[in-house]
Assembly symmetry: C2
Homo-oligomer: 336 residues x 2
């Protein structure tokens, strides 16, 4: 058996993540015990949330310990199995971590079928980002047909799904916010957003006002910071502001910027809600069936931004925070 | 007929309200037209929200215009009536403005009975502040018996009611936040708060943690700023943060301080909700009956901080922002 290359967290990053925050190590390939399988990792999911997992302190999951393999979602092929639920050759998603091989309890893995969708899609639109979009918009956000929906990070892994499924369910208008003309063009031309505002050019507030003359019913926020603050000025009565993430703030060395226009919640009798997709685990199947159906009918598109090579991990992760990815950012670890 | 002394808004205040922001004028006493009454103002309600009404720009009510009588709630005696619903000698509450006499449409007034409660109480516990506490806590906040409830501005007009009615409905623990040892002692000794933290002394976060070991289920926020930010660090899962006001921020000359710890909403699957009591107008009676019953049984106390003399209006209003009032701040305009 070959060695197992792994990225371990070497220290807690200060500000932007750097290569030196990780130790690129070689370890042995483990042996699965009873109820465990050995997974050969094929694709890893790179997510904004990973930045938070590197920090010390309470969050919705424990932080990654110093010296531990960096936590990451991924999809791979079972190459040894000590559990009747998995046969060698099966494909499965879970949290293998940033490494080539992972010994994992079978109950932490979900079988997926590469014939139904390409494997990277199970890390994106049919994975956590898709589930986040689905339950965030429909359950937490109490979406109603006719709603004006605004989504930031519109071209990202979650955003690309939010915009499309809002349209599919009868939104009155769907407006994206993204960085740069290329992403915005893609959101409108390919994903079917009614409009997409490039926050890097022009006056976001003015453009939002023009695009959403009746105000924003649902704001699906993936970015925080100034964009959240600006959208708060354009809420409709009884608006729902969904706090999904705050990628603009994760690498701050100063305290996070709070939304100074939060009193707009009072004026507009609006609600700001935080949520974590894991709470919906028991209902993933329901979302996967509906979204898988849309994909099969060509109504829901999914784009993955795939970068090759485990060794590129720290730099590839940075693409997220620089806004360089379009669609779901995936690290290819091995050929299928 | 005597003249009518009035405070008119002379200019939009910058920062803290000053006497020069008002014009203390003398006008004629008006004549009520059809469907109107002439009210002799007895007591005026001084509220933090008045600061917002002086600013230009969209809010939940239009701003007071320059040269207009300053808007204020109040209670008075009907001295002329052109409407069958009111007889001379009736007492009524409404929005007469900061003046001695007001011509008002009868439909903007609600009759009150001075035999059931002292008139100033209709501006406090049985008025808007009481309604705000009641519908905020029970309706917006989805209060459940056993909840740990924290309220800021605990000794203020709204706070004094929130703390008491939370206890009456079976809160697990009610913790106030107020400025100074006297207010805190009063909250605990007289109102029955389980604890009250003096935010001006010691470490608020540490004290909150000690008083609310299971976290905060409902935070009823009247103050905003650093206190809101600190309480956000102590939320329980599925907490509700009620945005009722932000008195610490109303006189800012810089942008309002946003809550930098708002991502605690995500970690704790919590909700931040804004509300405006006027939306509950159709249900005021329900609240007044329950709270009036508690008052009659001596279970709900109400304190008013009454200052005498219309001419003191600008300085008396400042007591709110300096935290000098205990209970509901009322300006006495004339003897009953």
């Amino acid at each position: 058996m070959t060695t197992n290359r792994q990225f371990k967290l070497a220290k807690r990053p200060v500000g932007m993540v750097k290569r030196e925050d990780f130790d690129f190590a070689q370890g042995p390939v483990g042996e699965p015990g009873p109820g465990e399988v050995l997974l050969k990792v094929l694709y890893l999911s790179l997510d904004p949330a990973m930045r938070g997992w590197m920090n010390e302190g309470k969050s919705y999951v424990p932080p990654v310990g110093i010296g531990e393999v960096m936590r990451a979602g991924g999809v791979g092929r079972v190459i040894k199995s000590n559990d009747p639920k998995f046969a060698v050759g099966d494909h499965a998603v879970g949290l293998p971590g940033v490494q080539e091989y992972a010994v994992m309890p079978a109950k932490g893995l979900t079988k997926v079928d590469p014939k139904l969708a390409p494997l990277p899609v199970y890390l994106g639109t049919l994975g956590m980002p898709g589930m986040t979009a689905y339950f965030g918009l429909f359950d937490v956000g109490q979406f109603k047909p006719g709603d004006t929906v605004v989504v930031s990070g519109a071209a990202g892994a979650v955003g690309q799904v939010v915009g499309q499924i809002a349209k599919l369910k009868g939104a009155g208008k769907v407006v994206g916010i993204a960085g740069g003309p290329d992403k915005c063009k893609w959101c409108v031309d390919e994903l079917g957003y009614d409009a997409c505002i490039d926050y890097k050019s022009g006056d976001l507030k003015k453009q939002l006002k023009a695009e959403c003359p009746k105000g924003v019913d649902i704001y699906f926020d993936n970015v925080g910071g100034d964009i959240l603050d600006t959208v708060l000025t354009q809420l409709a009565m009884h608006a729902r502001v969904l706090i999904c993430g705050a990628i603009s703030q994760y690498n701050n060395t100063t305290p996070m910027k709070g939304p100074s226009n939060y009193m707009s919640l009072l004026v507009n009798r609006a609600t700001m809600k935080g949520f974590v997709v894991f709470d919906y685990a028991a209902r993933y199947k329901e979302a996967a069936m509906e979204m898988g159906g849309w994909m099969a009918q060509g109504k829901l598109k999914s784009r993955e931004d795939i970068v090759d090579g485990l060794e590129t991990f720290p730099d590839t992760l940075l693409k997220l925070f620089k806004g360089e990815n379009v669609g779901k950012l995936v690290l290819k670890v091995a050929g299928e």
